[in-house]
């Protein structure tokens, strides 16, 4: 390698020049100084830093052509800047050559060399669509070919500077890829991306098989921490909550259902009935205020969060409370694709702090982004859709989703379709009417009647019609709950009632604040970046359990306060409905015993 004379005419002070022997490398490094020449100690430090960094580089990078750099050590860089790269010219902070700064020196050098590499014909990483997807600059669904400007992967970032631009993202992440053995476990998809690019990876830590998730709504007394081993996930279904008559819900809601196998069951079709182990990934706007505003939803003022929910809860919410059907359509994914999809979901869960836009960034858009970033094969613009049912249609058309399950005779029985509970209400009422001459002809009449007027009929049922009426009593009770909820909401907003409902509003605010932590779990731990590793998870467990306990307490407090805010008539109606359900339950148990039916315990 010839010595290179480094001469910047713009500089008043000309400097010394040093060349690094380029033994195992395809490119050379020269050092110059701005101001006084580098002294012996500085020169040694500069040389050593370059050699140490070079030794870390992937062979393809180290041996590449045309990556020569001229480093100028300067005293006049702004306070916060360690280095800058202008093509082959790197300006580095001279103070970094101080004896104690080896780590900062090498990081800064690596960072600027990464810019040099990225901008060369060998690199181009920051312009790559895949990198931008992984980094958090996804395509916009509505404007073809454009990407969002702001990176929303704000939480648990190793260095917020990476969010500045794709070029900075690449430089920061190459630093971590090359120097942090945990990078493979904390940012697995990016690690895999760089490893594939260089066809080489530095030695890395062994990663735990399970991905950490926090459930927004842990059932019972279980901890909300959910370690999820992708190998235990037999399938992923596109879960569509069908639209209903309400104006903007005609589009439905899109979610992903994880078919998780019960412990001990080998992954296979049998896992489809392990319903209580299944979880749902659902992007929802997190409403952080007592009052919901449509305008805020349209203008992106609500955070968009990836919620992890038990399937059982989702079935109840949609089919029994909102009375909407759920279509569960299997996606055709290989096991390694399921694993990378879940990895992406975990990454979003811990790092994503996006905004919800009813049109431009709704659940369908979020789900589409998750699918194609998690499974690069699906990164096909033709799949793009801003509506949940549109996305399903496109996935089915491309063969990536198997919608034929919905036509199967056993679609309901096998759990591919969960019909809205009210589809059978009339049929059940007709069954009950064959046994007793119930008043009215439609189930609506029956459900709208006073609970007390139904009680005498419930007391005289047989087993079969009693079963039918039990379903209807539950329906009546849920309907009453919804009506009360609406009434309470109106009361909470009514300034004349402000004093009376103040405790409930305060509790609700607290509840929302506590729920915030579980839906954005990065808030619950400090330290580390990306996916939390073992030590962070220990800390996390305490925080999460305490939060869940608080949530449960607040919820029952709110229940009490809400109950107190009911009128005497409303309370009487609630009690009557509860009595009906209790009584009918007792009657069915008695009939079963008398008939000598099977006893389970």
């Amino acid at each position: 390698m010839p010595l290179r004379i480094c001469r910047r005419t713009a500089l008043a002070v000309l400097t010394c020049l040093l060349a690094v022997p380029a033994a195992a490398s395809g490119w050379s490094v020269t050092h110059t100084a701005h101001g006084a020449p580098l002294d012996a100690r500085e020169s040694t430090a500069a040389f050593a830093a370059v050699e140490s960094v070079r030794a870390r580089l992937p062979p393809r990078w180290r041996d590449a052509d045309d990556l020569d750099v001229a480093i100028e050590w300067r005293n006049d860089l702004p306070e916060t800047v360690h280095g800058r790269a202008f093509g082959p010219h790197l300006r580095m902070r001279r103070a970094l050559l101080a004896p104690d700064d080896a780590h900062a020196r090498e990081s800064a050098l690596l960072h600027e060399l990464a810019h040099r590499y990225d901008r060369s014909t060998h690199g181009g990483l920051s312009r790559d669509a895949r990198l931008r997807d992984l980094a958090g600059w996804p395509q916009r669904p509505l404007r073809l070919g454009t990407r969002v400007r702001e990176n929303a992967m704000r939480d648990r970032s190793p260095d917020a500077y990476e969010l500045t631009s794709p070029a900075e993202f690449v430089a920061v992440n190459l630093e971590y890829f090359l120097t942090d053995p945990d990078y493979a476990c904390r940012r697995p998809a990016l690690h895999a991306y760089f490893a594939a690019h260089f066809d080489w990876a530095p030695s890395a830590a062994d990663c735990a098989a399970a991905l950490p998730f926090v459930e927004a709504e842990a059932s019972g007394r279980e901890t909300p921490l959910l370690p999820l081993d992708p190998a235990r996930v037999y399938a992923v279904d596109y879960l569509l909550a069908e639209g209903n008559a309400r104006p903007m819900s005609a589009w439905g809601h899109s979610m992903l259902r994880l078919v998780i196998c019960a412990p001990g069951r080998p992954a296979g079709p049998d896992c489809r009935l392990d319903l209580q182990h299944h979880r749902v990934l659902s992007f929802r706007a997190f409403v952080d205020d007592v009052q919901i505003s449509n305008l805020r939803g349209l203008t992106g003022r609500y955070p968009s969060r990836l919620f992890v929910l038990p399937l059982d809860q989702v079935i109840d919410e949609y089919t029994r409370i909102e009375l909407r059907g759920l279509q569960s359509v299997p996606l055709r994914l290989a096991p390694d694709e399921i694993a990378s999809l879940l990895e992406r979901a975990a990454t979003l869960h811990w790092s994503y702090d996006g905004r919800y836009w009813f049109v431009g960034n709704n659940c369908a858009v979020e789900t589409w982004k998750l699918l194609h970033t998690g499974v690069p094969r699906l990164a096909d613009a033709r799949l793009r859709s801003i509506t949940p049912n549109g996305l399903l249609r496109k996935l089915a058309r491309s063969g990536d989703a198997d919608a034929s399950v919905l036509e199967r005779e056993d679609a309901v029985r096998a759990g591919f379709y969960f019909p809205s509970a009210d589809t059978e209400y009339q049929a059940l009422f007709d069954i009950a009417r064959t046994a007793q001459a119930l008043p009215g002809t439609t189930v609506e009449d029956w459900l709208a009647s006073e609970p007390e007027s139904r009680a005498s009929w419930l007391a005289t049922t047989g087993q079969r019609d009693g079963a039918a009426l039990l379903v209807l009593e539950h329906a009546a009770r849920r309907r009453n709950e919804l009506e009360l909820r609406d009434a309470l909401k109106r009361r909470l907003l009514d300034p004349r009632q402000a004093a009376r409902v103040a405790p409930a509003v305060a509790t609700l605010r607290e509840l929302l604040a506590a729920g915030d932590g579980l839906s954005r779990p990065a808030q619950l731990i400090d330290g580390g970046y990306g996916l939390p590793q073992a030590a962070e998870q220990v800390v996390l467990r305490d925080g999460v359990d305490a939060r869940a306990l608080k949530l449960r307490g607040l919820r029952s407090q709110l229940e009490g306060e809400a109950r107190a805010a009911l009128t005497v008539e409303e309370q009487a109606r609630v009690a009557a409905l509860d009595r009906n359900v209790e009584m009918l339950g007792a009657r069915l148990r008695a009939l079963h015993r008398e008939a000598g039916g099977l006893q389970l315990d």
């Binding site: 927004a216 309400r246 104006p247 819900s249 589009w251 809601h253 979610m255 319903l275 659902s282 992007f283 929802r284 706007a285 409403v287 007592v290 919901i292 449509n294 969060r305 929910l309 059982d312 809860q313 109840d316 909102e322 909407r324 709704n362 659940c363 309901v412 029985r413 096998a414 509970a421 059978e424 059940l428 069954i431 019609d465 079963a467 039918a468 039990l470 009593e473 539950h474 009770r477 849920r478 709950e481 909820r485 909401k489 509840l511 729920g515 229940e559 809400a562 109950r563 609630v574 409905l577 509860d578 359900v581 209790e582 339950g585 148990r589 009939l591 079963h592 039916g597 099977l598 389970l600």
Partner: protein
């Protein structure tokens, strides 16, 4: 609160979780079903059966026509774990679930 919740919730699946069940004024929810054994702690096994209770009611009422996945899951679970249920018919088990 949430004046137009319905509109918002249905479109986007907003975080309804804070409200689901908490404003009900009862501890009800779908799972209690007037069952004597429904309160207190429920093990994972009991949960499968409890969750199937409304499905089981539909099955018994319709003489097997209405047959949801939760009932299916409970039938499989009980046949595998409960000696009494092993050789019983679907209807017998559904009746037993309903009578829990």
């Amino acid at each position: 609160m949430m004046v137009r919740t319905a509109f918002v919730l249905l479109l986007s699946g907003l975080s309804a979780s804070a409200f689901a069940g908490s404003f009900a004024g009862t501890s009800a929810g779908a799972s209690s079903a007037g069952s004597s054994g429904s309160s207190g702690s429920t093990s994972g096994d009991d949960k499968v059966v409890l969750q199937a209770r409304e499905d089981a009611a539909g099955f018994v009422a319709s003489d097997g026509r209405i047959r949801g996945a939760r009932l299916e899951a409970a039938l499989r679970h009980l046949r595998a774990s409960n000696a009494a249920a092993r050789d019983a018919s679907d209807l017998e088990i559904a009746q037993a679930i309903l009578a829990r």
